[in-house]
Symmetry: C2
Subunit: 432 residues, 2 copies
């Protein structure tokens, strides 16, 4: 390792000589830029760090430690989720559990309006996360109960048969049927009738079809559930999200708890030409309508309809982390927009004055903590940390009343009048 560093050091010195010579010779700017780039690469390999620094802000958010990269991903996810909920009028309460509850304390809300909003929220969150294609399955407990009744399932077996149906996303129909008949004592005929229903999924068309179904339409509960499902799909169409929602008669989650609409959002694997349908890679959100108790507000502890959404945060984090790893996307761990740099020595005061102006205008800015840092080291620091802009103070620039603004990615440099600098940085970093 020491030898390697010495070799690198020698290469670095030689490359620095080349750059110096080219500059003295006033060589072609493109050639100079190319040689400077090589020099920066060598410096990066050697890990020189003149006045580099690192602020680390520790916040009391949890008990587990995450590294800055993980935290950056977690922050992005939280930001999208929380801003979506706030866009829908949510209050934030500080508890160890992440969940959303939709209360109507005194009045009753009209059917399906809050349910549709919850699905819109899930749709906005999953779209915002850009986590891949997704589908939200919906069903209704009343439709499931009605279906079991018309298929000839005894009342006492509703719950246990329901939990078998819920295995359909992982098991085949044959396995599910054999559990129903073998373990749970259902007649093979009843099981087959269930089998015909639970393979159905679709949208408004399927709802209309089932409202005409000779058996199901005779059941009061099922009719109620299907009527509300139709209303829900009408609202989802108005929201422009019906294409991502699938009415799916095999969805049977948490029926001990939910009393009406239930839903579950799943991520889909990228579509494959050899497969007919995209494959689910797991549930990332779910919820439904349940009877809440409003004991806190109502001394009689009356039941009040509630709609809940919960987001599978940890699952989303690990999918996002995997995605970042796979894409080799560089995740920045700071949000710094601009490095304030000096082109020559003895410009510390000018750097301090400029950076103070930038901070006071809300711009995220850093500078190296050296009195006279080398320009190359300042540029290298931006390459390492992903800072997109450099505001370079130089003697000539000071005389001209300008600051040289360098775009790190393209190496483009432009003189900006000092009084326009803040506006220009905001414009280039899309900060309002």
């Amino acid at each position: 390792m020491a030898d390697e560093a010495a070799d690198l050091g020698e290469a670095l010195r030689r490359q620095a000589d080349t750059v110096r010579r080219l500059k003295q010779e006033k060589a072609n700017p493109e050639e100079v830029a190319e040689q400077v780039a090589k020099l920066l690469e060598l410096k990066a390999q050697l890990g020189t760090d003149e006045g580099k620094h690192k602020f680390v802000l520790k916040t009391p958010k949890g008990t587990r430690d995450y590294n800055p990269k993980q935290m950056a991903i977690r922050e992005k996810v939280f930001d999208i989720i929380i801003s979506t909920f706030k866009r829908h009028g949510a209050e934030v309460i500080d508890t160890p559990v992440f969940e959303l509850k939709d209360f109507d304390i005194a009045g009753q809300f009209d059917p399906m309006i809050p349910d549709a909003e919850c699905l819109k929220i899930v749709h906005e969150i999953l779209s915002g996360l850009q986590i891949g294609d997704f589908l939200i399955k919906v069903n209704d407990r009343r439709i499931l109960d009605g279906m079991f009744a018309v298929c000839g399932v005894p009342d006492s077996k509703f719950r246990t048969i329901c939990s078998t149906v819920d295995k359909l996303d992982k098991a085949t129909w044959e396995d599910v049927k054999s559990e129903m008949v073998g373990e749970k004592g259902l007649s093979p005929e009843a099981a087959d009738r269930i089998g015909e229903y639970v393979q159905l999924h679709g949208g408004l068309g399927l709802i209309e079809q089932l409202l005409q179904d000779p058996k199901l339409s005779q059941n009061k509960l099922a009719r109620e559930g299907l009527g509300d499902m139709k209303l829900l799909f009408e609202y989802l169409t108005l929201f422009g999200i019906a294409d991502k929602i699938s009415f799916d008669l095999s969805l049977a989650r948490g029926l001990d708890y939910y009393t009406g609409v239930i839903y579950e959002a799943i991520l889909l694997q990228p579509q494959n030409a050899h497969k007919e349908e995209p494959v689910s890679v797991g549930s990332v959100a779910g919820g439904g309508r349940y009877d809440g108790l409003v004991g806190m507000f109502d001394p009689k502890g009356r039941k009040v309809p509630c709609v809940g959404v919960s987001i599978g945060i940890e699952r989303i984090f690990s999918i996002m982390e995997q995605k970042v790893e796979a894409s080799e996307e560089k995740i920045r761990t700071t949000e710094t927009q601009v490095l304030v740099a000096a082109a020559q020595k003895k410009l510390l005061e000018e750097r301090l004055k400029l950076i103070s102006e930038l901070w006071d205008s809300g711009i995220k800015a850093e500078m190296l903590y050296k009195k006279n840092p080398k320009l190359l080291n300042q540029l290298q620091y931006c390459e390492d940390t992903g800072i997109p802009l450099v505001a370079i103070v130089g003697e000539q620039e000071l005389k001209d009343g300008v600051v040289k603004l360098r775009v790190v990615a393209t190496r483009e440099e432009v003189d900006v009048r000092r009084e326009n600098l803040i506006e220009e940085i905001k414009r280039r970093t899309c900060q309002p």
Copy 2:
């Protein structure tokens, strides 16, 4: 209580009749508005709630439960603190302790540059919180040690005498002196010499004066500390914050830990004409220079100079809460910008279409979950929750291609063309 409600109900009915009659008579709009306002007040007293709802978002931020009002204050405080640190290039790490550390891993940073930035950060945070007037006291361990030496304190007594000096913000000089002499065995002469120094506080002038001080200027450590203090004040002047910083020789916090500059931010009580100086109501931030170990990066575990800031979050929260209580300021617990309301019945679909457009443009919007809510109830909901704007959909407005935008505070109403509505709401709520 029941009688009271009945009386209120009767008053409400009578007031509603009055409003109805005035409207039929096409009375003077100002008179109608006045009577409607009375009606709204009565409704508020009765607490009618037609389709009112409440989203509650629970986040896994901590273990203690706060109510929505407390959370709104905590969120505001956190937002200001974290955005300030991020403006200065901080990474965020998730741990149970809130503190900031300023690492220079391989190189040494030049004197006082990061120290000045830490003071700028504290200044930005306390200004941003608008928590009242404040002062940041600074001192340096080397100045204190030099001062003890020239006053004739034996080396072995530096630490214990220092901890007595630290009591000066709560005790009188007489009490402090008697502890030094009586309990700690210092000579009264040495104590008196300390007494002369520790009552000094000021800025660059005081530093210059002490650099000329016949005793202190003979001490190498004190000279070093004063030289750096001068540099620090020059940087603070460039940052435009020197007027809030006081070089105070009685500041002696945490000297077992800090090795150079130390500082402490205190809030000041409102100035009183009868008092000569504002009185401190306690420390809200502090920090200083210390020797960190960089074991993680340096196998030899070498010492590396670090500058730390810690913010007294819980203290700031309780001061902010008290301030809100005292001012009777209404703290909103949601951020909703606009309520989408209907002027007549049968406009649910139009409300759903409009609110969906608003959400998709990033506007925070709510609607009541009733199919046909009364306009009065919709307006009352805004009064109760502090929503500033109402976008009213009506039959005539639909025909004209406009939406009526109502400013809740002024009751001003203006027709806005549908295609300009989003821009107009953003303009009025200062959302970029």
